[in-house]
């Protein structure tokens, strides 16, 4: 069984338990700190704020006191589309973003991107961010920048990479130790690691030994905008029906029925 999977391509993905997520924002900062994400004095215009991981606040739109809130962390979905044709990868004119068949990770090559922003137009999750400004760190603060992730220059697009540099470092280490594969805990994203509520699980969706493999099959699992055929690799679970429904768009008559998610899966 194990042997079989060593040869199968990996498909890294996440399962985020929205029942556990508290909206504390630790994942957002864990991501910024890991990936040298810049910041500016005013970040309150969320349409200009680079947050690879962004926590959305959902409400059930019911009046007081029936109101409910659910937080939804949104990293890059690393969409597979059909056969790796994620919405963004297929549109990039300069092959600056790529779908890795080996890991299922959608990469972004900062030095090749020339900033046409077509990928941003293509992404329905708003997971892609443009560097409208030069990244500037206050004097002295550039000391904490990590050499594993290059700071991005102005005029290009960036996004969540599932901390791909961690994968590379883990693979390097495994290689030195003469191993071919990685253990589940050897490669974890920064947000997964930081979440104080333990809401995020990360691993190889193709590997039955990884926790995500089982979690994604939960009857409460759903993905965002599955109906568009983006085939994302980030799953969410919620015990609340309205939250699961908020994951996609439904016509009025569909909404009343129990939604059969498998219908929209490819």
């Amino acid at each position: 069984m194990k042997k079989e999977h060593e040869h199968k391509a990996k498909k890294y993905g996440m399962v985020i338990d929205l029942d556990k997520c508290t909206g504390c924002g630790a994942c957002m900062v864990a991501c910024m700190a890991e990936n040298n994400v810049p910041f500016r004095a005013d970040e309150t215009d969320k349409l200009l704020s680079i947050t690879w991981m962004r926590v959305y606040k959902l409400t059930n739109a019911m009046p007081f006191p029936k109101t409910e809130i659910c937080y939804l962390p949104r990293p890059c979905m690393h969409c597979e589309g059909s056969h790796g044709h994620s919405p963004c990868v297929s549109v990039c004119p300069a092959t600056a973003t790529d779908y890795s068949e080996a890991t299922g990770i959608v990469s972004q090559i900062y030095t090749r991107c020339f900033g046409c922003r077509y990928c941003m137009a293509a992404c329905p999750y708003h997971a892609r961010y443009f560097n409208w400004w030069d990244p500037v760190w206050p004097e002295g603060m550039e000391k904490y920048l990590s050499p594993n992730v290059s700071p991005r220059m102005r005029g290009i697009v960036e996004k969540c990479s599932f901390c791909f540099h961690r994968y590379q470092l883990a693979m390097e280490k495994a290689h030195y130790e003469g191993r071919h594969g990685l253990e589940e805990d050897e490669y974890q994203t920064s947000c997964t690691q930081a979440c104080p509520a333990g809401a995020i699980t990360f691993g190889d969706l193709n590997n039955p030994h990884h926790a995500v493999y089982k979690l994604k099959k939960s009857e409460n699992a759903f993905r965002l905008l599955e109906r568009l055929g983006t085939n994302p690799k980030v799953y969410y679970t919620s015990s609340r029906k309205w939250v699961r429904q908020a994951g996609d768009n439904y016509l009025r008559d569909e909404k009343d029925n129990v939604i059969d998610k498998s219908k929209f899966r490819n």
């Binding site: 300069a94 046409c116 560097n131 005029g155 908020a246 996609d248 768009n249």
Partner: protein
């Protein structure tokens, strides 16, 4: 003073007037250049674009000028391929307008990209799956064709023509122009289409996404079609404006009417196709993604049903009906109304296919995003207009753009 450069047998305004005109438009042009330099030096933070509006005014301007510049390829196609010989009397101007539109589009693209110095990566690291790659290649090639079509016109200048080499070159180029026109038409069918494909392939954006054939979504064909229909209308419009400004008749009515008639029928068929497309999208494509048509046109301050009606009926069906009726196109006012509406219609369509696509929330918990361009965006968008006016002014003054001018305006 510059009379030696002015074609023989035509009358031009005094040089002083012309310089004043150049100065006024030039000032606007400089304003645009200033904004452009700002964008290049300081970056795109000079715009009001944001992460929801990665595509905004400039991409609209690009799509719009290319659609409006569609008169060049379609008139060329009609003249050289179909053999509508009368159109030779307007083809020069159509080429000039096309040249202006396409060079403007390239300039805007060079401002719009975040890393202009890496712009050539689109060719070097081309991704064949991307509609934008297709656009870039076809656009550049067609711009080269337009340049080749425009060069003989320059060489026909009185002084240039005196040089035997230029004279012969010009003559020879005219001889083979049909080949270029055919190439241009072919390229144009593609890049007009791929511009339509830019939005049509976005399966993550239910407002823009269209199904289609093979790799081409329906918008691919609709864009080509609408550019072929409305481009010549814009050529007519600019001709009429030029006639009004120069207070001279420059092109004979039969030429204009022929072009108007063809445009009218193109527009009518486009209207039918667009209506079918909209209907299919509204009743099949969008609902399959969980959207009602009303989701796209309600719940925001700008994009209401009016925009759909304006684009398809007011600026589509109405001008089509005017132009296909003889009375409609013979009446000067209704002709102008029709070509204005058609030009607005195609521009509005491009706006909708760029800006509204960005505005519509896709995730159920997302919100409509509105946008208003910054002055730098507006200035850089007006820049090509000023540039176009200046190039038309100079070309008209010194080049024999309108073959019928002499005949229609005999100098005593």
């Amino acid at each position: 003073m510059d009379s030696a450069l002015i074609p023989k047998g035509v009358r031009r305004c005094p040089l002083g007037h012309f310089v004043l005109f150049l100065a006024v438009v030039g000032a606007v042009l400089l304003w645009g250049v200033f904004a452009m330099v700002l964008c290049w030096i300081k970056g795109l933070n000079q715009t009001n674009m944001n992460d929801y509006y990665g595509f905004a005014l400039w991409i609209w301007a690009d799509l719009a000028v290319i659609a409006l510049g569609g008169g060049a390829f379609f008139t060329g196609f009609l003249r050289y391929i179909i053999g509508k010989d009368e159109l030779k009397n307007i083809i020069n101007y159509a080429v000039l307008i096309g040249f202006i539109c396409y060079s403007s589009a390239l300039l805007i693209l060079a401002i719009d990209i975040g890393q202009p110095l890496r712009g050539w990566f689109i060719f070097w690291h081309a991704n064949v799956h991307s509609m934008l790659t297709e656009v870039a290649f076809c656009l550049s090639c067609y711009f080269a064709v337009l340049t080749i079509e425009y060069i003989p016109l320059i060489l026909e200048n009185r002084q240039a023509d005196k040089v035997p080499f230029f004279h012969n070159l010009s003559h020879n180029m005219h001889e083979i122009m049909a080949v270029f026109a055919a190439t241009g038409a072919f390229l144009s069918f593609f890049h007009q289409g791929s511009l339509g494909g830019v939005t049509g392939v976005l399966f993550g954006r239910p407002f823009g996404f269209r199904e289609g054939v093979f790799i081409w979504p329906w918008t691919f064909f609709l864009f080509t079609w609408s550019a072929a229909a409305c481009g010549p209308c814009f050529t007519i419009l600019v001709t009429k404006i030029t006639e009004a400004v120069t207070k001279k008749k420059l092109v004979k009515d039969n030429v204009i009417e022929l072009l108007a008639k063809i445009s009218g029928w193109m527009l009518l068929t486009y209207f039918v196709a667009k209506t079918i497309d909209t209907w299919y999208w509204a009743s099949v494509t969008a609902p399959s993604m969980g959207f009602f048509l009303s989701d796209f046109y309600t719940g925001n301050p700008l994009y209401g049903w009016w925009i759909l009606v304006t684009e398809i009926v007011v600026c589509g069906l109405v001008p089509a009906l005017i132009l296909i009726t003889e009375r409609g196109r013979k009446n000067k006012t209704s002709l102008v109304v029709a070509v204005v509406l058609a030009s607005i219609g195609v521009s509005l369509n491009r706006w909708v296919m760029v800006l509204q696509v960005m505005a519509v929330p896709v995730m159920s918990f997302d919100n409509w995003a509105m946008y208003f361009p910054s002055w730098q965006e507006i200035a850089t968008t007006i820049l090509p207009v000023a540039y176009g006016i200046i190039l038309i002014g100079i070309s008209h003054r010194y080049l024999p753009i309108f073959p019928q001018e002499k005949e229609l305006n005999p100098v005593d």
